[in-house]
Every structure is written in C-alpha cells, then in structure tokens.
C-alpha cells in the first residue's frame, strides 16, 4: 500500500486487509473501527494521519498558525469524546470535517471576543493630546470669545477692533470709524459689556444693551 498516510506509519504493522486497499480513505476507516474496539496502535495511526486534514479544515476559518493548532487539538479531544458516534458504515472524512469545522468556529469566536475586549491605547492617547500651547479650557474660552465678538453689532465690533485690538489712539480710531470720539467710547463700552454678559461675567457697567 502506498505510504501516503504520513511519516512513520510505514514502520507500523498494518492489518492484512489494508494492504489490499488502494484507497487511502479506506485505511482510515479500518483503523478507526479497530480504535473503537480499543486498539491503541490503530488509534494513534488514524489520528496522526488525519491531523494534516484537520489543519486544512481549520485553516478555512482561522489564519494564525497558533489558532489553527488550538482548533486541531480541540478537535482531537472532541474526536476522542465522540468516537462512539461514528457509524462504521459511513466514510470517516465527513465526520472528522464536521467536528473540525465546529471547533474552528468556536476558536474563531473565542478570539473575536478577546480582541473585542482589548482596547488599543495608542490612537486614543493621540486623540486626547492637546494642541501645543493650549489646554482644553483655554481653547474653549477663546472659541467662545470669537463667537461672541462675531455676534456683536457691526458698529460695536468695529469700535472694539479699532480701539482695543489695534490699540489706536481714540482720536485716530474715531476718524477711521467715522464716529465721534464720544460715540466711539460708548460703542466700545457697550461692546465690552455685551461680551462680558455673553461670557457669563456680571455687567458692572450698567446701561442698556443695544445697538449703538
């Protein structure tokens, strides 16, 4: 009989019937029947012979060699537990494949659950890192201020810009904005009051809020 069934087996004494079998598949069935009857040598032979086949079935569902080997070992244990459920009249491969497939699915599920629980830390840390020179609170306040200024009426915004941001002398700012100095002062004052109110501080200046 051809030595297609794996290394080391040619050293084993095979039952006479096997030598007449051309079909490798028949050899496994004969061994398994003997194993069901308690023959350890035949059991070892059939298990060793079918491990490559079991690996092949597991590889359809698993990629990592470690997982594949995991599944193959689970399969061997299940084969051992369920060896009485194989009907000797039936071919052995489908029975083996069903068990191997089931165990591979179980390994895949176990790993899926494990991976789902592990959190990748690096990307999360990068997400939380603040922009240089700015911590969260300051960034938020600056943003709020920008929004508040944008909401000011046009005249107040201009006044604020000229007087406070560009720091022009009042006379020059008035000339540029087309307002009188007095009007500019009022507009600036109102703008600040509005901003304070908007940003949540109390308004000590009093005076009506309105367009100027």
């Amino acid at each position: 009989m051809g030595m297609a069934v794996g290394a080391g087996l040619c050293r084993m004494r095979m039952p006479a019937t096997v030598s007449f079998m051309r079909d490798e598949q028949g050899a496994w069935e004969v061994w398994m029947v003997a194993a069901q009857a308690g023959d350890s040598a035949a059991y070892t032979a059939v298990l060793r012979a079918c491990v490559p086949y079991l690996r092949g079935v597991a590889r359809r569902r698993l990629r990592e060699p470690a997982s594949v080997e995991d599944a193959v070992q689970d399969t061997l244990l299940t084969i051992h537990r369920l060896r009485h459920t194989w009907d000797p009249e039936r071919p052995l491969r489908p029975w083996l494949a069903a068990i191997a497939d089931r165990r591979a699915i179980d390994v895949a599920r176990r790993e899926g659950r494990r991976n789902g629980r592990e959190v990748e830390l690096a990307p999360l840390a990068e997400t939380l890192a603040a922009a240089p020179g700015e911590d969260g609170e300051a960034a938020s306040a600056a943003h709020q201020l920008r929004v508040a200024i944008a909401e000011l009426p046009e005249s107040q915004r201009t006044a604020l810009r000229l007087a406070k941001l560009e720091n022009l002398p009042l006379a020059e700012a008035a000339a540029k904005s087309g307002l009188s100095v007095g009007a500019l002062k009022v507009a600036t004052h109102r703008a600040m009051a509005r901003l304070r109110k908007r940003m949540g501080a109390t308004d000590r200046g009093g005076g009506p809020d309105g367009d100027g």
Binding site: D39, S40, V51, Q73, L76, T85, D87, R90, L96, R102
Partner: protein
C-alpha cells in the same frame, strides 16, 4: 502540550466503545412517545364524534400530516445528531408540516363557508396548550438526552427538531380525544403549542447540549 503528545495521551486513554446509531435510539423514543400518548387517549376516551370527523378527508389528511411530521422530525433530529451528515436533513419534516398547516387553513375556510364569520371567533383553549406542552416538554427532554452526544455539535437544530417531533405527536394524540370543532382554534392553539415546544427545544438545546 504538542499535538503528538496529545495523540499519545489519547491513545493511552483509549477504551473500547460500541458505536451507537442515533436512529436506533430515536425509534425507541418514538415507540415510547406513542405508547404514552396512546395511554393518555385511552384514559380520556376518544371524542364522541371521532368517527364522523375521521370520515372527513380534510381531517384525515391533516391528522396524518401531523403524525408524519412528528415521525420525520424525530428521524431528522437523529440524522442531525450524527456529525458529518448533511444539514439538508433538517428539512425532512417540512413538507408534512406544510401539508398540516395548509390543511388546517383550508379547514378554516371550509368552516367559514359553512357557518359564516362566526367560525373566526377565537376562544381560549389553555388545556390544549397545557397538554401539548405538558407532555411534549418531557418527551423533548428524553429525546435530547438520548441524542446528546452527537447533538453537541449542532445542539440547536437537533433539539428544535426534537421539540417539533414531540409536539406534533402530542397534537395528533390530542385531536383524538379533545373537543374542538373550530379549526381556527386548532390552528392557533395547537400551532402555538407546537411552536412553543420547538422554541423551547432550540433554546435549551444550545444551553444544555453545546460542548
């Protein structure tokens, strides 16, 4: 532990086993189920109008379909409990179930034709549900126990089919002694009970037998 070491370990642990064909156990279960159900029928006595009802071809077809569905579901469970058998075996009882349901649906229409919309009033029949579930669930448990080893790879389908088998046979038995004329009642109450026992099978199978 390396795979080779494991093989050596298992070989050292080897004891002789006798191969068990699940279908043999299922036949035993069928005989047990029929004996129990026959016992319940004998205890309650046949319904007085059984003779007339069984003369109606629609009744015959429907009743036979439920019996056949039960038997085929049990055999399908046995096949599914053998690792390596095709998943298509699960469909074995399907034609009989379809005949059973359509038979009852047809009977509903006939009832409506006969006595008008009054046929559609649905009363309660908790005793129907109670009998099918009360006898069906223990029978389901027994079949699950008999098939448990092979079933461990496909516990859901094996147990669901076992539930269907148990419930269908109980439903057939119940029809022999229970007074229910309105086919809609049978359709709903037997149908619900069968679905319930099948569902109990599917869920408990996964919980109890998956290994």
């Amino acid at each position: 532990m390396g795979t080779d070491d494991m093989i050596a370990q298992l070989a050292a642990d080897l004891t002789p086993v006798r191969p068990v064909a699940p279908w043999r156990r299922t036949i035993s279960w069928l005989l047990l189920a029929m004996a129990l159900i026959a016992g319940m029928v004998a205890w309650h006595g046949f319904r007085p109008d059984l003779h007339e009802r069984m003369l109606m071809p629609a009744e015959q077809v429907q009743w036979l379909a439920s019996v056949i569905a039960g038997v085929l579901a049990a055999l399908a469970a046995a096949r599914m409990a053998e690792p390596g058998r095709s998943e298509a075996w699960a469909l074995l009882p399907l034609p009989a179930v379809i005949v059973w349901l359509t038979g009852m649906g047809w009977g509903c229409l006939a009832d409506i034709a006969r006595i008008g919309p009054a046929a559609l009033t649905l009363g309660t029949s908790w005793s129907c549900l109670g009998f099918i579930v009360g006898l069906g669930v223990p029978l389901l448990g027994i079949l699950m126990f008999l098939l448990k080893d092979g079933a461990s790879l496909r516990p859901g389908p094996v147990s669901a089919l076992s539930g269907l088998a148990a419930a269908a046979l109980c439903s057939a038995g119940l029809s022999l002694f229970h007074h229910l004329d309105a086919i809609l009642m049978i359709l709903v109450w037997h149908g619900m009970a069968v679905a319930l026992v099948t569902g109990i099978g599917a869920v408990s199978g996964r919980l109890a037998l998956a290994r």
